[in-house]
Structures are given as C-alpha cells and as structure tokens.
C-alpha cells in the first residue's frame, strides 16, 4: 500500500475531465494542455506501476482502504500492467495529435471534447486496472457513453445515426455483461475477480454459472465487435471525427479483448472455458469468419478510413483466434498482437487524420503525388502497411508468427491457413494504397504527363507536411512498429510469459 500510482492512473484523467470542462468556460485553450498533462501523468504512473510489478510482483491496491472482497480492489499484474502502458501511451499520442484537427473541425466544442476524451481514457484504464467485475461494468459504461458522445460530435452526415446504432448495440452488450455479473454474484456472493476465481471451480457444474459465463462472454464480444456482432463498428468508427477514431479504434476493441482474456483465464479457469465448454472452437470459427468478412469488405472500400475499420474487424478476429486455440503459444500471440495491432491501428488512424487535415482527401484513388506532398507521413504509412501485411522486421510479422504457431500446435490447420491467407488480403489492400500514393501519376494520365513530369522532375509538387503535433506522434508510432518487432522475443520473455496463467 506504499504507492498511490495505481490510483493516479485512473484518478488523474477523471478529475482532469471535470477541471477541463470548468476551465473551458473561462479559456478554451487550456483544455488541450490539461488533457495532455493528465494523460501524460497517467502514462507515467502506468510505467512506474509496471516497473513495480516487474520488481515486486502483483500489486493490490485497495481503493479507500476497503478490504476486498467488500471494497473495490485494483490489481495490477503483468497482463494489465502491460495493457495499461499500451492504453495510456496510445491515448497520449492520440490526444497530442488531436490539437489541430479539433481547432479545425469544432473549436467551439473543445472543452466538451477534451472532457469526454478524458472520460473515455478514464474508462479504458479503469476497465484494465480494476480487479472487480462490477467495477469493470462501471468503467465499460463510462468508456462507452463517452465514445457515443465523441462519435456523434463528428460533422459527417450520418455520424449521429451511427452513434445511435452503437448506443443500442453497446447497451445490449453492457446489459449482457451486467446480467452475467448478476448471475455470478447470485451463486458466489462476490464481485472480486480473485475471490470469484477461488469460489467458482466448485460450481462449474451449476447451470447458473454456465449462463453467467455465456452472458459475460457475449456481452464482451459485442463490445469487441467479434463477427457477427460487429455491425455497429464500421459506421461508428469511420464516421467518428479523425481525432476520436485514432483513440477508439486502436483501444476499445483491445480493452474488450483484454476483458475476454480475464474472463476466460482469470475469473474462470481454462479448464472450464476450453475443456468443459466448446468456447474455443465456437470463437475460433467465428474469428475465422471475421477475418474473411473483414478482409473482403475492406477490399470493396474506396475510402481509406472505411477500409481500415473493416480491417479492424479482421484484426479482432486475429486476437480472438489466438485466444481460442487454447494453448500457451497462441495466447502469447494474441497478447502480443493486442500491442502490435494497437500500435498499427493507432498509426494508421493518425495518418488518416493527418492526410484528411492537410488535403481533405480520404478516397484512396485520389492519393496521387501524396508521397511527394507528405513524404514522412507516407513513409510511416508504408512501414505500418508492411507490418499489417506481416512482413518482417515490422512487428506485425511476429505476432502473426506466434498466432500461426499456436494454431499449428492446436492442430487447427484451417486457422493457420486463414491467418496466412489474410496476410495476402492485407497485401492487396495496402499495396493498392501504396501504388496510388507512390506510383499512380504516370499511368493514370498517359504519356503526356509522363513527358511533362520527367522533364520537370516533379518540381511543381511542393512538400506540404502535416503539422508537427500530428507528424511527431505518427513518426513515434512508426518507429515503434519497426523496433517492437525484433524486440518481441524480449517482451515475451520479460512480460507476456508471466501474464499468462501459470500451468496453462
């Protein structure tokens, strides 16, 4: 109980959300600074907490010093320590890059935007840090409601509609989750995860527990947008303002995936999830379909952002696939992919934001000359694209490697082949964009422009990069994507292997 850092991770963004709103009435310009500072503190606290975990083992923090199982307990182990760093770091980059696009798109709403943004971050870190199933629900609702609001802020025509759609799906998901929690509370009288884990094994044959488990899982799958419960995601994320989608797209689904891992591996034991119930094969096959449906729908999109949201559906499939093969190496792949995919998605959505901010273009076929206008942004895009395709040494390759290994070890050949085919689909998707951005000019406009272009050496296209507040997060992310890859062995041996329940 010596350190207060775990509490700071949640409290600072929460309090700043309120401060932000109040200060915003007085001076709008402070909101951005407060938000950045708050998330930076949260990130710093996460890093300190993680270091503490690595040095001294699992941290239990009793909120208000109430002893669990009565009080709410924050538990930070390797798994959520790792998640917290990912969530706070990406939130930090997202908030930094939001500055210009907020100023451009809805300056008058800046205070509201940043307060809700901070609430969303609060929700995400809250879900991750808490060791109490009901508390997860509370933070899930905070995050979701904040997300509904942020999506509806968007200026695009159908944004409120998409948000409304999301409200309905999201509420159903939250409801299911809550019902599940209720069932478990009914039979065990506890809401604390560790306590539940102790009490439940004796009750594994109870129908109530079974139903509770099913409700929890379906609720989380809706939040995670696992096929066929993904219908809300494409519209909601693609119509959200760019500054919002670069936060929610990489993180919401990942945090939900984290909750799924918690349910299947911490609250319930893998014995229950995999051997007593066919959850592995059900989720696995759904994931396979998700990967294909996501990929195919993405192929038919012309708009970069629309393409990305469908890819996101497929990426959720990857993570679930790794979880559902039911072995250690597959789960390693999933946890690694949570990080890698969060990094890649964050980078891609930041890039979409930067391109849209600078040129207003989102249609891929209009991307010609973009490599000369925005060389750094497009360089980052290329790196991320290669990572998405799963080409080494970018990080996407390494999580794919573990996922494929996991599938092979589980003798699920279809899963392995699905993963491999999906990287080819990603290759088509991303090389198409690269082709338009880097090579398209000549072929599209025939010989005439070819001559013109060569004789003038493209002198007429001036470099016009995104503002630094957008470019720097993008470049940091792209560098990380390259660096994380070769270091994934290190990450696994020092963090992820401890994040997986022992004996699994």
């Amino acid at each position: 109980m010596s350190t207060q850092y775990p509490a700071l991770i949640v409290i600072v963004p929460l309090m700043s959300a309120l401060i932000c709103f109040v200060v915003g009435w007085w001076n709008r310009n402070f909101c951005y600074k407060i938000a950045v500072a708050a998330i930076a503190v949260s990130f710093y606290s996460s890093v300190v907490t993680m270091k503490d975990v690595m040095a001294n083992g699992v941290i239990h923090y009793w909120v208000g010093s109430w002893e669990p199982p009565w009080g709410i307990e924050y538990v930070v182990d390797y798994l959520n320590g790792y998640m917290l760093i990912i969530v706070t770091f990406i939130s930090l980059l997202a908030v930094i890059s939001s500055k210009k696009s907020v100023e451009k798109d809805f300056p008058e709403k800046a205070p509201a935007f940043y307060s809700i943004f901070l609430l969303l971050v609060t929700g995400l870190v809250g879900i991750t840090i808490t060791g109490d199933v009901f508390n997860v629900y509370v933070f899930l609702e905070i995050a979701s409601i904040a997300a509904y609001a942020l999506i509806a802020i968007g200026k695009r025509d159908h944004a409120p509609m998409a948000s409304f759609n999301y409200v309905i799906y999201g509420t159903v998901g939250a409801c299911f989750y809550l019902i599940g929690v209720g069932y478990l509370y009914l039979v065990t009288g506890s809401l604390n995860m560790a306590d539940l884990a102790k009490l439940l094994p004796d009750l594994y044959n109870s129908k109530v527990v079974l139903v509770g488990f099913a409700f929890l899982l379906v609720g989380v799958c809706i939040k995670m947008a696992l096929f066929p419960l993904h219908m809300w995601l494409p519209d909601a994320y693609s119509l959200a303002p760019d500054s919002v989608s670069s936060l929610i797209a990489p993180l919401m689904t990942k945090v939900a995936a984290y909750v799924m891992i918690r349910i299947m591996f911490t609250i319930f034991q893998p014995v229950f999830s995999f051997e007593m119930l066919p959850v592995g094969s059900i989720c696995g096959w759904l994931a396979v379909i998700a990967i294909f449906v996501g990929g195919i729908r993405a192929l038919s999109q012309k708009d970069l952002k629309n393409m990305l949201v469908y890819i996101l559906v497929a990426e959720v499939g990857y993570i679930v696939l790794g979880i559902s093969v039911g072995n250690r190496i597959g789960l390693t792949g999933s946890i690694l992919h949570i990080m890698n995919d969060a990094a890649m998605m964050a980078c891609l959505f930041l890039i979409v934001g930067a391109i849209a901010y600078k040129t207003g273009i989102t249609d891929i076929t209009q991307f010609r000359h973009l490599n000369q206008k925005m060389p750094f942004t497009m360089g980052a895009f290329t790196i991320t694209a290669l990572s998405m395709v799963g080409l080494p040494p970018a990080c996407g390759f390494f999580s794919k490697w573990y996922l494929v290994l996991g599938a092979i070890e589980a003798n699920q050949w279809v899963f392995a082949v699905t993963l491999l085919i999906s990287s080819l689909v990603n290759a088509i998707l991303f090389f198409r964009v690269i082709e338009y951005a880097y090579f398209y000019p000549h072929a599209a406009h025939g010989a005439e422009e070819h001559v013109h272009a060569t004789s003038h050496g493209h002198a007429e296209i001036v470099m016009d990069e995104a503002p630094l507040s957008m470019l720097i997060p993008i470049l940091i992310m792209a560098t990380l994507i390259l660096v994380l890859g070769p270091f994934s062995g290190k990450i696994i041996s020092s963090i992820i292997q401890f994040a997986i329940p022992a004996g699994f």
């Binding site: 390494f398 573990y402 092979i408 880097y438 000549h442 070819h450």
Partner: protein, 497 residues
C-alpha cells in the same frame, strides 16, 4: 568447427542500409554526392566481405547474434563457406552494377533516380542478410525485405506494363513468402529450432508424409524466386524494369536468393541422407530437368533481347538446383560454382543488352545486325560470356559444368547428364544467332561504321565482369579462393550427412 564472434557480418548488412539512408537524405539536390554514397557503400561492403574470407578458409565460422526472437530462435548471422560464396558474388557485382547504373540512369535521363538507388541499396542489404543468415527465420526476414525492396524497382518505369509486371511479381513472391512462412512454422513447432546445419536437421522428426509436404512447401516458397517452372511466370514480365535492375536483381540477387534458399533447404535443412530416404530428390530433379529443357526452348523463340536472357536465367538456375539435388560431392561443388559463375557471366550479358539499348534504343535480337562493328568491346564481351554459359572455355561456365558432369557421372545419372549437355547445345542455339547477327550479318538499318561505344560507365563494368568470368576459368582460386570455398561447403555437407 571453431566459432568466432564478430560484428563484421552485421556491418556488411548495415553498410548499404546506412548508404540507403544517406542516398535518401541527399536526394536529387546533389546527384554526384548521392551516387558517391552508393559507390562508397559498395566498396566498403566488398572490403568487409573479403576481410572475412581468410577466416572462412581456415574453417572458422563467424557468428553474430542480434537478439532472441523466441526461445531457440535467434536472429543470427553466420558466415560459413556457402554463404560466403553468395556474399562474394553479390558484393562484387554491386560495385560493377553501381557504376553501370550511373551510366544507364544518366544516359537515359531517368526519373525517380533517388528512389531507384535507395531501393537498390536496401536490396543489397537484404541480400547480405540472406547470404549470412544462420537460420531459416533470419533467412526469411531478409528474403521478405528483398521482395519488398525490389517491388519499386520493377515498378520503376510506371507504365501500364510496369504495373502489371510489378503486381505479378508481388503476387508471386508474397504468396511464396506466405507458403514459406507456413513451412517454417511447422518446422519450428516440430523441432524447436530453425538453425541451418550442414547435412540437415530434420532427420528423425515428423512422419514421412509431413516431411514430403514440408519439402514441397519449402521448394515452392523458394522456387518462385528461383524461377522453377511453372513458378517462373513473373520473371520474364519483370524484365520491364530498367536493365541494371534486371541485371543485378534478376540475374543475381533475387533469383539467386531463391536458388540459394533452395540449396539451403536441400543441403542444410533436409540433408542428403533424408532426401534419399524420402525419395523426393528424384522428383525435384525431374522438375528442374523439365525446366532446363523447356526454358531453353522458350528462349529460342524470344526476340526481345532481355526476355531471351531471362529465359536463359531460368535455365541456368535450374541447372544449379539440379547440381545440388544430385547430391554428390562434385555435383554440389559444380552447382555452387555455377551459382557464382553464372552470376558474372549473366550480368555481363544483361549489361550488354542495356548498353545496346542506351546507345541505339534497340530492344530486339533481330535489330542487332551489324552492331558488332560499332560496339566491338561490348559484343566481344558478350561472345565470351555467352559461349561460357554454354560451357565453352575460356569463360568460367566451363569449370562449373565440368564438375556438374563429373558429379552426374559419379552418381551414374546418365539421364541428367544428357539433359545438361542438351541444354548446353540449346544455349549455343539461342546465343549463336545474336553473335552471328552482331558480327557477321549485314546491317538492316543505319549502324555507325566506326567505333562508337556506350558511355564508359557502362563499358568498363561489362569488360570487368567478362574479365572476371575468364579469370574464374583460368584460375578459379585467384584472390578469394572461390573454388576452395565451394569445395569446403560441399565437403561439410557430405561429411556430416
């Protein structure tokens, strides 16, 4: 085998990567500076590679481990004789090609030269990584980098044809990469290691069926780049790239990386004894024999100069693989030597095609009439190297084919011997007309009656590569002991297996 830890292998990989960054940073603003980065990187790389030769000849293995990707899966560079051969080939030819590229790109006033030189340097980095990869995963990583870095080079012209060519290239190579990855994952989950071991490491693992399946996957994975029929389709279409690209990448780096990979798989993953037990060697031998004969026949029908050379490449790559898969000491030596020898001779031929194009804008064999008088040096070099490819001294094709024949006789594989000799005759049949037209046919259109060669930047690399080809025949052990290294490599495999 003594193992020496050293950072030199890493430096050989990094030097051109650093060069690439400098090239990108310098850009169009200062062309001479940009080109000097290429040359400097090429020379340093060559020096680094050569500096490791003595250690390799002493039988030592130079090792450098970056980091562990997973338990038993290090990202590791390991310099041993076979990798050394490939590295020597690529690093020598990069110097020649750098000079040649400068002449070619400036001669034609090409666009996007920065991108071109950047990608070229990245390719060379990847090639070094492939040559020195100590295990399959390291090999795979650099193999994929090579794929991606080559794509913009094939796309370079940005014409409709270049689009199709580069897309085809990507489809073939990425699918192959995925197939390869699948095989790697199976092997790793089966054995827990991917380290190349002379004589193979798969023996004793898995069922026969699974091993055969793996062999097929691996050969398909590398066979695309190696142009084994029917996976060769991308190669002729990729000839749309500028000639120096075709020369270095489609006669040396990319296709040789594929062949190198196949030889690694045959000799260092499966190993001779396991392949004999499985019986798959014979199937592969028949497939490549088919490739040898058919590609030579297709080459006969090509009028486009570069396409003819492309099919000759397919033909020779298959010969290298045939040598390795016969699995005798001499045939493996011959195959490895041919890997090097073919590189020098073929690059000279491509250089000639490019020089002719820059000078006269002629692309077809049927337009070459009488050009020998105008460009005697170019076509002189062409004659030596083309005959060398068929196995005629004084170019080095003779040496490698001699050892291949010895090896086939040793294994009593008369059928494959006949295939090899038939292909040599077909070589004469499709190169002969070019030589004849250049020197003896009467010019159809105007040809300068005087000595009028391509720029010296291009002619000197042609003469250099042709001279090296001759040197490797007259004295195969001169300077860097190519012959001894190949011998050592072959012996290490059969000694262990």
């Amino acid at each position: 085998m003594e193992v020496v830890s050293s950072i030199t292998p890493l430096l050989t990989v990094l030097v051109s990567a650093v060069g690439a960054c400098l090239i990108l940073a310098t850009g169009e603003r200062n062309r001479n500076l940009r080109e000097s980065w290429t040359i400097i990187a090429a020379v340093i790389k060559f020096a680094l590679v050569v500096s490791m030769v003595p250690l390799v000849l002493e039988g030592k293995v130079i090792e450098f481990t970056f980091i562990n990707l997973a338990p038993g899966l290090p990202l590791q560079l390991k310099v041993e004789p076979f990798g050394m051969l490939f590295a020597l080939l690529a690093s020598t030819l990069w110097i020649a090609t750098s000079f040649y590229s400068i002449g070619y790109m400036r001669g034609l006033n090409e666009h996007a030269q920065t991108r071109y030189f950047f990608c070229f340097a990245v390719c060379l980095s990847a090639t070094m990584g492939i040559a020195f990869a100590g295990n399959l995963i390291t090999f795979f990583i650099f193999y994929e980098i090579l794929t991606v870095a080559t794509y913009p080079l094939v796309m370079h012209m940005e014409t409709e044809e270049a689009y199709l060519g580069s897309r085809k290239y990507l489809v073939y190579t990425l699918v192959a990469g995925v197939v390869l990855l699948f095989a790697l994952a199976i092997i790793y989950s089966m054995t827990g290691t991917l380290d190349f071991t002379p004589g193979g490491f798969l023996a004793g693992h898995g069922t026969t069926g699974l091993l055969i399946f793996l062999f097929v996957l691996l050969i398909m994975g590398c066979g695309v780049k190696a142009g084994i029929m029917p996976l060769h389709e991308w190669l002729p279409t990729a000839m749309v790239a500028p000639t120096p690209v075709s020369a270095l990448l489609h006669a040396v780096a990319v296709v040789k990386a594929g062949v190198f990979g196949i030889l690694r798989i045959i000799l260092y993953v499966f190993g001779p004894s396991l392949l004999h037990d499985l019986g798959v060697w014979l199937i592969l031998a028949y497939v490549v024999s088919f490739t040898i004969i058919v590609s030579a026949m297709i080459a006969l029908a090509q009028d486009n100069f570069k396409r003819r050379l492309a099919f000759s490449t397919v033909n020779n790559l298959a010969i290298i693989i045939l040598g390795a898969i016969i699995l005798t000491n001499n045939s493996i030596t011959g195959g490895m030597l041919h890997l090097v020898n073919h590189g020098f001779m073929k690059i000279a031929l491509f250089f000639v095609a490019g020089a002719v194009f820059v000078k006269t804008h002629k692309k077809n064999v049927s337009d070459l009439d009488g050009l020998g008088r105008q460009m005697p040096l170019t076509f002189g070099a062409f004659t030596i190297c083309a005959l060398g490819l068929a196995g005629v001294p004084p170019a080095c094709g003779f040496i490698s084919k001699w050892f291949l024949c010895l090896g086939f006789l040793e294994a009593k594989e008369i059928f494959f011997l006949i295939v090899l000799l038939t292909s040599a005759m077909l070589d004469i049949a499709f190169f002969g007309p070019i030589i004849y037209r250049a020197f003896f046919a009467k010019a159809k259109s105007y040809v300068s009656p005087h000595f009028d060669e391509a720029p010296m930047f291009m002619v000197i690399p042609i003469l250099f590569t042709a001279a090296v080809s001759v040197m490797l025949c007259v004295s195969p052990n001169a300077f860097v002991h190519v012959f001894d290294i190949a011998r050592m490599a072959a012996r290490s495999i059969l000694g262990a297996g």
